[in-house]
Symmetry: C2
Subunit: 670 residues, 2 copies
Amino acid sequence: MAKRTESRAGTSTGRIPIAGLSPRTPDDVFDTKAFVGEVVPFEATVFREGHDIIDAALVVTDPTGAVTRSPMTLGIPGTDRWSTEHLFEVEGTHTWWIEAWNDDWATWMHAAEIKVPAGQDVDNMLALGTELLQRAAQRDPASALFRDGAKALGNASLSATARMRVASDSRIAAALAAQPLASLVTASPKKHVRVERTRAAVGSWYEFFPRSEGAKIRDDGSWTSGTFRTAARRLPAIARMGFDVVYIPPVHPIGRTFRKGPNNTLEAGPNDPGSPYAIGSADGGHDAVDPALGTVADFEWFVGAAKNVGLELALDLALQCSPDHPWVREHPEWFTTLPDGTIAYAENPPKKYQDIYPLNFDNDYEGLSAEILRIVRLWIDRGVTIFRVDNPHTKPVHFWEWLLRDIREDHPEVVFLAEAFTKPAMMQALAQVGFQQSYTYFTWRNEKWELEEYLAELSDETGAWFRPNFFVNTHDILTPYLQYGGVPAYKVRAAIAATASPTWGVYSGYELIENVARPGSEENIDNEKYEFKPRDWAAEEEAGASIAPYLTQLNRIRGQHPALRQLRNLTIHGSDDDAILVYSKFLAGKHTRSGRSDAIIVVANTDPHSARETTVRLDLRALGLEPGSTFTVRDLITQQTWTWTDDNYVRLDSFVEPAHVLSVDFTRTP
Amino acid sequence: MAKRTESRAGTSTGRIPIAGLSPRTPDDVFDTKAFVGEVVPFEATVFREGHDIIDAALVVTDPTGAVTRSPMTLGIPGTDRWSTEHLFEVEGTHTWWIEAWNDDWATWMHAAEIKVPAGQDVDNMLALGTELLQRAAQRDPASALFRDGAKALGNASLSATARMRVASDSRIAAALAAQPLASLVTASPKKHVRVERTRAAVGSWYEFFPRSEGAKIRDDGSWTSGTFRTAARRLPAIARMGFDVVYIPPVHPIGRTFRKGPNNTLEAGPNDPGSPYAIGSADGGHDAVDPALGTVADFEWFVGAAKNVGLELALDLALQCSPDHPWVREHPEWFTTLPDGTIAYAENPPKKYQDIYPLNFDNDYEGLSAEILRIVRLWIDRGVTIFRVDNPHTKPVHFWEWLLRDIREDHPEVVFLAEAFTKPAMMQALAQVGFQQSYTYFTWRNEKWELEEYLAELSDETGAWFRPNFFVNTHDILTPYLQYGGVPAYKVRAAIAATASPTWGVYSGYELIENVARPGSEENIDNEKYEFKPRDWAAEEEAGASIAPYLTQLNRIRGQHPALRQLRNLTIHGSDDDAILVYSKFLAGKHTRSGRSDAIIVVANTDPHSARETTVRLDLRALGLEPGSTFTVRDLITQQTWTWTDDNYVRLDSFVEPAHVLSVDFTRTP
C-alpha cells in the first residue's frame, strides 16, 4: 500500500534520506533568487538502504499555490545525486522541496526480469507482481489496463514467460512511470526561491551624463549645462542600439565646498560643474534635483521620455554628502563629529576626499535609515524603478538587508544594482541580503584562464543569488586592456559581456573607443565626472569611428536568442590556444517559445593584437547534441556558416573580427 | 563606548557580518563531533564596511558552562577568513560561536601613525586617541597605565611626536590586545560540537575469532571449539602488541538451516561451525551466547579478562537472522513474508543468501526498534562499550539516528563503528546521524595519488563528523595489493594506517602475512567466518615469519606521539616520485602535555616491488617551522637520523623498510 512516511518522530532524517538540496545560499540563511523566464537547475542527494529502486521529483508551488512536479533523474549512480530543471514563469516567492519514494513496480520488475527467466522463486515473483497491478487497478478503477494486466499476470494457467510478457507491456510501464506505485514517500524540508521580474537579471545598460548632452561652451570658457530636456534627445539613439536600461549618475544639487576640478584636481574653477557624487548644496540634498538639469517635473518627464522609446531609467543612489548638504546642518548626528567640532570627511589614510562626508550609521541608525527609506520611496514615486547603488560596501550590510526588504514588500519591481568593487565576502553578502544585481570583477578579467574561472564561478557556484552586470567600462574604469587593445579589445570585451552575462552595460564613449587614460591611472582622461563632455555622435559614426553598429548587433543577437538571457546555462569548452576562450549557452526546446532548442557558442580571441588558429573542443552534450554529431553553425556577426562537430578548426584575426558568436542550427539537426 | 550591537531587529545579518562558520555538517542539521584531546580548527568569514580594523574570537562553552575565548587570526586578507583552534578537554555537548568587534584602538593607531607624522589633522587625532585611553582607564580604574597614558597623550604642552610615543607604548599595546577597546560587538549564531571520549576516535583495533583460539581438531575430523576461556589466553599477546580494542564477531547461537560450509559453500558438514553472522538457533537469538563459546557469565568474564590487560571489547552487532532465530517464529512481522507464506531471504538478484533473513523495518517499526534497543542495552549491561555494527547501510538511516541518540543519552561512553562499505552518501549520512566511527575505502586506496586524495578528504573535508577506522584487512577483505605485495605491502599498509588515522585495525593473521586468497576472490582462502582456524603464534614468531614486532613498534610510536592521535592535523606534502607518498601530522606545543611541539613526517613507498629515490618537498609551515629551516629528523622505525630542510633526498627500498616514520626533533630546533 502507498503510505506516506514522514520523518520518524524526533529524527531529522526521513525514511528515505534526502540531503544536499541545491540551489541554496552558502549558509542557507537567505532565499535563493530566480527571475521570470529563468530555467533553474535543482539537485539533491537521495538514497536508501538496500537495493530497492527509488525515484524522486521536484515539487514547486508558485505564489498562487499552483503546484508543478518535475521528475528528477539520477546522474552518476555512485553519487546518488538527482537533478532536474524548473522554468519560473511568475514573480513572487515560490516554495520547493524534493519528494522521494520507493518505486515498488520498478523494484519488482528488476528482480522479476532476472529471477523468473532463471526459474528462481517464480510463483512468488509472479504473485508479487500481480499484487502490485491489483494495487494500481484499485487506485485507478476506471482503467482496464491494470485490471486486465493483474488478471493475466495472476493467471496460473499461462506460462511464466507469457505472464512476464504481460508485466512488460509498454503501456503498463508508461502508466506506472507517469504515476508510480510508490511507498515510503518522503519529503525534504521546504525551501524558498524569490522570483523577480526579468529585468532584475536580464538587460542591456547604457550609462551617460545628462549634463553632457546638449552642453555648450561659450566663448568666455563658461558652460551651459545639458538638461533633462536636451539629454532626452540622445535617448532614441540609445534605444536604437538595442539598450533597454539607461543609467544616469546622481541628479542632485552638487556641493561647492571643496568641489573637485578637472581630472580630480583639488581646486574647481568657476566653470567646473563638480562631481555629481558630491551631493547636496543650498539647493537641496538627496530629495532635490540639480537646477542645472531642470526641475523635479523635468526629471519625471525624462523618465517618461525614456519609457517612450523603450528605455527604463536607472538612477544613482549615492549615500554620501557634500559639506553643503542640508543634513550636515540639520542632522550632524548622521556624520562623525571630530573633537574640534568639525565633521570627518572621507579618507583612507593617507588618501583624503574632502568634498565628501560619509554617513555614520551608528549614532542614529533609526533616524538615518528612516530618512534614506523616505528618499528611496520618493524617487520611486517619481518613476524610478531601478537604483544603481554607489559603494554599498561602505554602509552596514544589515542596513541594506532591512532597506531592500522593506522596499521589496511594496515594490517588488524595483531593482537595486550594487556597485561594490571590493572583496568577495562583502560582494557575496550584498547579493545575498537582497541586491538584485551586482557589478563584478569582469573589467579586470581579461585573460582566457581568468575568464574561464570567473564565468564558471558566476554561472555555477554563485548563480543562485549573485547576478552579474558585466559593464565593459564605467566612468571610473578604463583598464590597461582597453587602453592598449584598440578596436579589437573594445569589440571582444563587448561580445563577451553581452553573451556571457544576461545583463551587461557600457558607459557612453565606449562606442567611440575613448581609450586615453589620465596618465598613471585606470580611468579616462578628463573624466566626465568633473566636466562637461559633449560628443558629436553622428559625425563620429559617419567617420566610421564608432562601434555603435557592433553593439547594436550584439543587442539584437541577445534579443533573438533566449539562451543568452540565462546565466546558469553557461558551459566552458576547451581550445588548444591559451587566448581563445570558448563557452556556450544552451536552452532546451521545452523552455523556448518556439519550441526549438537554442544554443550559442562564443569563440573569442582574448589577445587583441593577434590572429590565432586553434582547435576548439566542444562538449556536445552541453549543446543538447550527442558526441560525434555534425551540425551547422552560423556566425551571427558575419553570417558565415560552417559544419561543426566535437573538434573544430578556428582562425580568429582580432583585426578583422575578434569573436565568433555562433548559433547552432537546430532546424537542420535531428 | 563599548556597546553590544546584536542583529538589527528583523535582519539576519549582524552589525559586523559573520558567515561561513566552520566546522559544520554539510546541511547544518547535525552537530559536528570532537573527542577529548582533539584540537579542532575553527573558521569564519568576518568583515565590515569601510576601513576600520576588526577582530574576532571563538567562544566555546563546555557542558559545565565554563567559557573559553580564543583569539582568531586573519588568513589571506582578501578572503576575510579568520581561524583559530580549540583543544577540547571534557566530554559532552559544547556550544560555540564567533564574536567580532571593531577594534577602536587599532583603527585609531593605524590612522594616527600615518596622519600625525604627516602633520595631517594632528589635534583631532591626538584628542581621539586620548578619548580612547580615557575609555580604557574608565573600564579599568585600578590601572595607572591607561590613566597616565591618557594624561600624557592629552598633554598639549608635549610635542606631537612625544605624545605619539606615549600611544605607542608596548605595555598599552599589550593590554589593549588582551582586552580590546571594542565597539559594534556582534555574535554569530550558536553552534554545537559533541565531544566524545577519546576512544571514540583514537584506538588500535585487533579482530579475532574467539572460537579459533584453543580450537582443536580430533582424529575423526571433528572439532572442539575454542571458548571465551581459551580465547582469553590470546589477550595478553594482543595487548603486548600495543592494541587497545579487541573486536570479536557475533557471539550468538548460529543457525543450522542453510548453514554455510568452508569457503562459502552451500552445504555445511556436521563439523562445520557455520558463520557467526547467521544468528539465531534453538539456543536463542541476539540476546544469547553460543553454547560452544560458553555462557553469558563466561562472556562477562571475558570482557573483564580483556580489561585486565588493557583491552576494551568491541562486539559485533549484526541485525539479521538465521531461519532458526526465535524472532522468525515469534515476530514474522519483522521479516518479509512472501505470497507462499515463506520468509524472504537476503538477495541481490541473481545472488542469494539463503542462510540469512534480513529484517524488514516497515511492518512494525516501533516493535522491532524497541527490541533492538533492548538487545543493545542488554549487551551494554553485560559490559560491552563498543559495537562494531555490521552492514548498517542495509537498515533505515532514521533508525540509526534514533537508536544512537537514545543510547547516547544514558551511555555517552558507548562507541558504534559503522561497517558500511557502500556509496559516499550513505557512509556520510551514517556518520552524521551518530556513528562514532566508520570503516572506510582505505583498503582499496593503495596508490599514491588516491591515498593523497582520500587522506585530504578524510582529514579536511569530512573530519568534523566522519571518523575513519583504517582496517588494513578484515575477515572478508584481502585486496590484490596484499595478495601480491608480500611483506613490504603488509608493512607499508600498516605504517600508513597506524599513522594517517587516529584509529586503525588489523584482523588476526595479518601479522603472519596470510595472503592467499580464495581463487577469484578478494578474501582469504578458508575464510575463518566458516571454519576454525587455530594459529601457532609463538612458532611463527620464532620462525621470524611474523610482523608482530613491526605492528608493536607502530603502536608504540602512536603512543609516544600525540600528533598521531589527531585527524585534522594531517598535511599532504609532495614528492617527485609517483609512488612515494608524503604526509605529516603536527601538534603545537601549547596543546601537548610536554609543552613541546610534536611533528611526524611519514614517507611511504606505495610500490611494494621497488626501491625508489626521490626528492621529498615539505611545506615547513605545516610542521610549525619557517621555510628554509634545517632540523633533525629521526626515523622511529630504524632510529637513523638526518638533517632535513624544505627539499630532501629520500631512498626507500621496500624490501628493507617501505616507510620512514620520522619525528622532527624540536629539542634541537629553535
